[in-house]
C-alpha cells in the first residue's frame, strides 16, 4: 500500500527542529472486537502546529481521548518530554501541561465568562484576581474578551475564545484543538490562526484536528494522517495539494461531483418564503425578521451562516413544527402553507431533513423500518391502512433506501442508534429523496459525515434538483454551500440576505454577511 508514499525527507520540511513535547509509541486501543487505534506512532515537537487528519471513524477522537487521559490505551506508551507517563485522567493531562479546546463547547450559557473559567480551574482564585488574569491573557494573545459578559450573549467565535483562554490560563505546553474552525466565520478563523502561530512561536505545541484541508495546508507544520485506526502517512501539508491529502485520508481519489446545467430562470417556484417573521420560542433562540426567498424547481439555494443565527427557527417554520401566523408567508407549489402542520405539508410533496439525526430526524431506539414510517406514514406509500401499520412495506422501503444510498448496517433492520453517523445521515436523507419530493428542505446535510458519505449525499441533492425539484439547503459548511448551490443567501441574527448567484460570490463576501454586514443599517460600510 501507500503507507510510506507521502514520507518526505526531513530536511525539506518546514517542521521546527526541536525536541519532542509528546511522543506516542505503539498506541493501540481495542473496543471489544473493534481496533480503533492500531499501533500508532507519532511525535509532536515543541513549537509546532501538528495536524491530525482522518475521516470520521479513522480513530482521531480515540487517539485524542487517550492523549487527554479520558481513555486508557490497550497497549503502547505516551512519553512527555521523553519521559514515559501514565495519563490516568483529564486532570493528570492538565497537570502535565496538556490543554484541550473541544469542538462542542462546554460552557454554561447563563454564567459569565469569569464564572465559567473559574469552574474549570483547580485552585480557586478570588473573582477579582481571576478577572484581571483573564483580561491580561486575552489581551496578550489577541483574544479580546470581557470577563463579565454572560455566555448567552456571546457569538460562537467569542465562546471559543473563552475556551481557549480557559485553556491558556493553565499555561499548557500542548494544546489540542478539535475542529476549531467548524463554527467560525472566515475572518474569525483568520484571527484564530494568528493566535495559534503566536503560541507556536512561543514554544507551545498545538495538535490541530480538522477536516478542512485548505486551512491545514495554511497553518500546520506537519501532518499525521490516520485511516482505519492506523497512521497511513506523515507529510508536510504545505508541500501537498489538498486533493492529495484528501485521497490519503479516504484511501481513494475522491469522486468529482457531477453537476449538470442548472434550471432556467422561468422555472416554476417550488418554495416561496414571503416576509416571514416569528418571535423566538425561547430566551436562547432567535427572532426571524422579514425573511423572503424563492426557490425554483431545478435549483439548489444554500443558506449559509454561523450556527445559532436562526437556522433552526427557519427550518421549524418551513417544516411546520412551528406554524406561521400568516399562511401566505410560507408557500409550497403556489399553495399557502404557513398554517399547515408537518403532515399536511408532506402530503403536498414537500420533504424535510433536520440537522439532528438522532432524536429529531430519527428515533434512536426504533428500527430503520419504523423510522421509515416516522416520516412516511401518510405520504401515499400505503404504510398505514385503516390505522394499522404494515411493517413489511416499511421494511421494503428501508431496503430500497439502504441500497440506493449505500447505507452500511449490521443487520437487515437494526435500530437507528446502531448505525454510524455517516450511514444514518445517508439513511435520513435517502428516506426523503426516495419519495421524489417536489420541494426538499435540508439542514446540515453532511454534518459530521466522512468524505465518502458527504459526496454521496451531495450528489443525491444535485441529482434531485436536476430532476426538477426545488432544494433549499441550510448549511454551516461554506465549502459545501459553494460546491453545490446555484444561489447563496446568508442568515445572520435572524435576517436573511438577498440571494446571489454562487458563481459571483467570494468567501469574503459571505464571511462579511455572516458577520452581520447584510443587516439593515448595520455594517453597510463593510459590504464593499
Amino acid at each position: 500500500m501507500d503507507t510510506s508514499a507521502a514520507l518526505k525527507p526531513e530536511n525539506q520540511s518546514n517542521r521546527p527542529r526541536t525536541q519532542s513535547t509528546l511522543e506516542a509509541v505503539g498506541i493501540t486501543k481495542d473496543f471489544a472486537s473493534l481496533r480503533a487505534n492500531d499501533n500508532i506512532d507519532f511525535v509532536i515537537r515543541k513549537g509546532e502546529i501538528h495536524a491530525l487528519l482522518g475521516e470520521n471513524g479513522a480513530g482521531k477522537s480515540t487517539l485524542v481521548k487517550i492523549l487527554y487521559g479520558a481513555l486508557q490505551p490497550t497497549s503502547g506508551e505516551i512519553r512527555w518530554k521523553r519521559e514515559p507517563v501514565l495519563i490516568g485522567s483529564p486532570g493528570d493531562a492538565r497537570r502535565l501541561g496538556i490543554g484541550m479546546v473541544f469542538q462542542h463547547f462546554s460552557l454554561f450559557d447563563a454564567l459569565t465568562v469569569a464564572e465559567n473559567i473559574s469552574l474549570a480551574l483547580e485552585d480557586l482564585l478570588p473573582m477579582a484576581a481571576l478577572q484581571t488574569k483573564i483580561k491580561d491573557v486575552s489581551a496578550e494573545y489577541g483574544l479580546p474578551l470581557n470577563p463579565a459578559s454572560v455566555i448567552a450573549d456571546l457569538s460562537v467565535g467569542e465562546r471559543q475564545r473563552v475556551e481557549i483562554v480557559r485553556c491558556l490560563l493553565q499555561e499548557p505546553e500542548l494544546i489540542i484543538m478539535d475542529e476549531p474552525t467548524s463554527v467560525l466565520t472566515p475572518q474569525e478563523a483568520e484571527d484564530l490562526f494568528i493566535t495559534l502561530k503566536r503560541l507556536a512561536a512561543e514554544g507551545v505545541s498545538v495538535l490541530y484536528i480538522s477536516h478542512r484541508l485548505e486551512e491545514v495546508r495554511t497553518i500546520c507544520h506537519h501532518a499525521t494522517i490516520l485511516r482505519h485506526g492506523k497512521v497511513v502517512a506523515e507529510c508536510d501539508p504545505q508541500q501537498e495539494s489538498a486533493a492529495r491529502l484528501a485521497s490519503l485520508m479516504v484511501g481513494a481519489e475522491i469522486r468529482e461531483l457531477n453537476a449538470s446545467p442548472m434550471a432556467e430562470e422561468s422555472a416554476a417556484i417550488g418554495l416561496s418564503i414571503r416576509d416571514l417573521s416569528m418571535p423566538k420560542p425561547s430566551p436562547f433562540a432567535v427572532d426571524l425578521h422579514d425573511i423572503s426567498l424563492d426557490v425554483r424547481a431545478g435549483e439548489i439555494v444554500g443558506i449559509a451562516g454561523i450556527a445559532g443565527n436562526g437556522q433552526d427557527e427557519i427550518f421549524a417554520a418551513l417544516s411546520g413544527e412551528r406554524l406561521a401566523s400568516n399562511p401566505g408567508s410560507v408557500v409550497f407549489n403556489d399553495k399557502a402553507s404557513g398554517h399547515l402542520n408537518v403532515t399536511a405539508r408532506r402530503e403536498s410533496g414537500v420533504a424535510f431533513v433536520p440537522e439532528e439525526r438522532l432524536g429529531h430526524g430519527a428515533v434512536p431506539g426504533l428500527s430503520l423500518s419504523s423510522n421509515i414510517t416516522l416520516t412516511r406514514h401518510s405520504t401515499g406509500d400505503r404504510l398505514v391502512r385503516a390505522g394499522v401499520i404494515f411493517s413489511g412495506v416499511a421494511k421494503m422501503l428501508g431496503i430500497r433506501v439502504s441500497e440506493t444510498f449505500d447505507v452500511r448496517k449490521g443487520g437487515p433492520d437494526p435500530e437507528a442508534s446502531a448505525l454510524s453517523g455517516g450511514n444514518l445521515q445517508k439513511f435520513v436523507v435517502g428516506r426523503e429523496i426516495d419519495r421524489k419530493p417536489n420541494v426538499l428542505v435540508v439542514s446540515q446535510p453532511t454534518w459530521g459525515v466522512d468524505a465518502g458519505a458527504a459526496t454521496t449525499i451531495r450528489q443525491a441533492l444535485v441529482d434531485l434538483a436536476r430532476s426538477g425539484s426545488a432544494v433549499l439547503m441550510i448549511s454551516q459548511d461554506l465549502d459545501e454551500i459553494l460546491e453545490i448551490s446555484d444561489r447563496v443567501a446568508v442568515i445572520s441574527k435572524g435576517h436573511l440576505s438577498e440571494p446571489r448567484a454562487a458563481g459571483d460570490v467570494t468567501r469574503e463576501d459571505i464571511g462579511l454577511l455572516m458577520g452581520g454586514a447584510g443587516e439593515d443599517g448595520e455594517g453597510e460600510a463593510l459590504a464593499h
Partner: protein
C-alpha cells in the same frame, strides 16, 4: 435481557422476605412456603388468584400505554373508584331496570366514568402544563371521599339497618360467572381480551407507534407530525377507561354492591405490575398473576402464621423497589469517586 430485571427483582424480594421471616421469628422456609407456594396448591386459591389478577391486569395495560408515552398517571385507583361509582348509578337509581342491557350499560358507564376522571389531569397537563403525577394522585383522594359520602349518604341501602353501602345488585346487574361454583367472572375474559388488544395497539397500529415515538423522542414525534396533546389525551382516556371498567367489574362482580371499600389498592398495585411487565401487555398478564399472588399469599400468611395484613404491602413494595433498582443497575454503571488531591501525574518507574 429486558426481562432480566423483573426476574432478579423477584429473586431479591424472596431473599429479603426470607430475612424478614427470620427476624420476626418465623421459620423462613415455612413462611415462604405459606406465602408463595401454598396458594398455588389448591383449586379455590388458584381461582381467587385469577379473580384478583383480572382488575390489576386491566388497569396495568392502560397504565403501560400512559407510561410509554411519558404520561405518569398514578391515579388509576381514583379512576377505578369513579368508574365504579358511575357504573353503579344504574342499578342503584333504577333498580327496576333489569334486562339484558343492564350490565352492558353499567360497563359502558363505568368506562365513561373512568375516562372523565382521567381526562381531568390530562387536560390540566395540556392546557396549563401541570404535573400529572400530582393531579392524578390527588384526585384519588377526591374519589375515595366521594365514594365514602355516597355510600353513607344518598346511596345508602334504606333496608341496610343503617350500615353504609348500597343495595345488593340484581342478577341482571351482576357479572356472569365463568365457572360454576367459583367467583371467576366475565372480568377475567375482558382482561385477556384487553391484553391482546393492547398488544396489537402498541405493536401494529399507528396510534401505538405515536405513543412510543412521542415517549422516546418527543422532537422526532413532532417532526413526524404527531400531536403530543392528542397522545396525552388518548393515553389518559384509555387508561382511565380501563381502570373504570375494572372498578365497575369489581362492584358488579365479587363485591356485588357499592361498598365503603371496593379495592385493596388495585390501582396502585397495577403500577407495580406495569413495570414488572416491562410495559408490555403480554408480560403484564404474567406480572398480574405474580402480584395477585402477593395478595392471596398475604391473606394466607394472616390466617396460617398470624401475620398482620400489611405483610402483602411489604412484599409489593419490595418488588417495585427492586425492579426499579435493577433497571438502574442494569442500565447504568455506578462509580464511587473521591475528590482528587492535587498531584502531578505519575512518572513510570524503571523507564527513561
Amino acid at each position: 435481557m429486558a426481562f432480566l430485571s423483573p426476574v432478579v427483582a423477584i429473586g431479591l424480594t424472596v431473599a429479603v422476605g426470607f430475612v424478614i421471616f427470620m427476624v420476626i421469628g418465623i421459620d423462613p422456609l415455612r413462611g415462604l412456603y405459606v406465602y408463595f407456594i401454598e396458594p398455588l396448591t389448591q383449586v379455590w386459591s388458584l381461582q381467587e388468584l385469577l379473580v384478583k389478577a383480572a382488575p390489576i391486569v386491566l388497569i396495568a395495560v392502560g397504565l403501560s400505554l400512559c407510561y410509554l408515552a411519558n404520561n405518569w398517571n398514578i391515579g388509576a385507583e381514583g379512576q377505578f373508584t369513579f368508574g365504579a361509582i358511575a357504573g353503579s348509578a344504574l342499578p342503584i337509581l333504577a333498580p327496576e331496570f333489569q334486562n339484558f342491557a343492564t350490565l352492558p350499560l353499567m360497563l359502558i358507564m363505568g368506562i365513561a366514568g373512568g375516562m372523565v376522571f382521567a381526562a381531568i389531569p390530562a387536560l390540566l397537563k395540556i392546557r396549563f402544563g401541570t404535573n400529572e403525577i400530582l393531579t392524578s394522585l390527588m384526585l384519588v383522594y377526591v374519589s375515595l371521599s366521594l365514594l365514602d359520602w355516597m355510600v353513607r349518604g344518598p346511596w345508602r341501602d334504606p333496608k341496610g339497618y343503617g350500615f353504609p353501602g348500597s343495595l345488593e345488585f340484581s342478577d341482571a346487574a351482576t357479572m356472569p360467572i365463568l365457572v360454576e361454583g367459583s367467583r371467576m367472572h366475565l372480568g377475567l375474559l375482558l382482561a385477556v381480551i384487553v391484553v391482546l388488544a393492547g398488544w396489537f395497539l402498541l405493536g401494529r397500529t399507528i396510534t401505538g407507534f405515536k405513543i412510543s415515538v412521542l415517549g422516546q423522542a418527543p422532537r422526532a414525534g413532532a417532526f413526524a407530525g404527531f400531536s403530543r396533546n392528542r397522545v396525552i389525551l388518548i393515553t389518559f382516556l384509555i387508561s382511565g377507561g380501563l381502570a373504570g371498567l375494572a372498578g365497575i367489574g369489581e362492584v358488579a362482580g365479587p363485591i356485588g354492591k357499592l361498598d365503603v371499600v371496593i379495592s385493596p389498592g388495585y390501582g396502585f398495585t397495577a403500577i407495580i405490575v406495569a413495570f414488572l411487565g416491562r410495559l408490555n401487555p403480554l408480560a403484564i398478564l404474567v406480572a398480574g398473576f405474580v402480584l395477585a399472588l402477593t395478595y392471596i399469599g398475604g391473606e394466607n400468611a394472616q390466617i396460617v402464621l398470624g401475620l398482620p395484613a400489611e405483610i402483602a404491602r411489604v412484599f409489593q413494595g419490595m418488588l417495585l423497589f427492586f425492579v426499579l433498582a435493577c433497571d438502574t443497575f442494569i442500565l447504568y454503571r455506578v462509580r464511587f469517586v473521591r475528590p482528587r488531591k492535587l498531584q502531578t501525574a505519575r512518572v513510570v518507574d524503571g523507564h527513561g
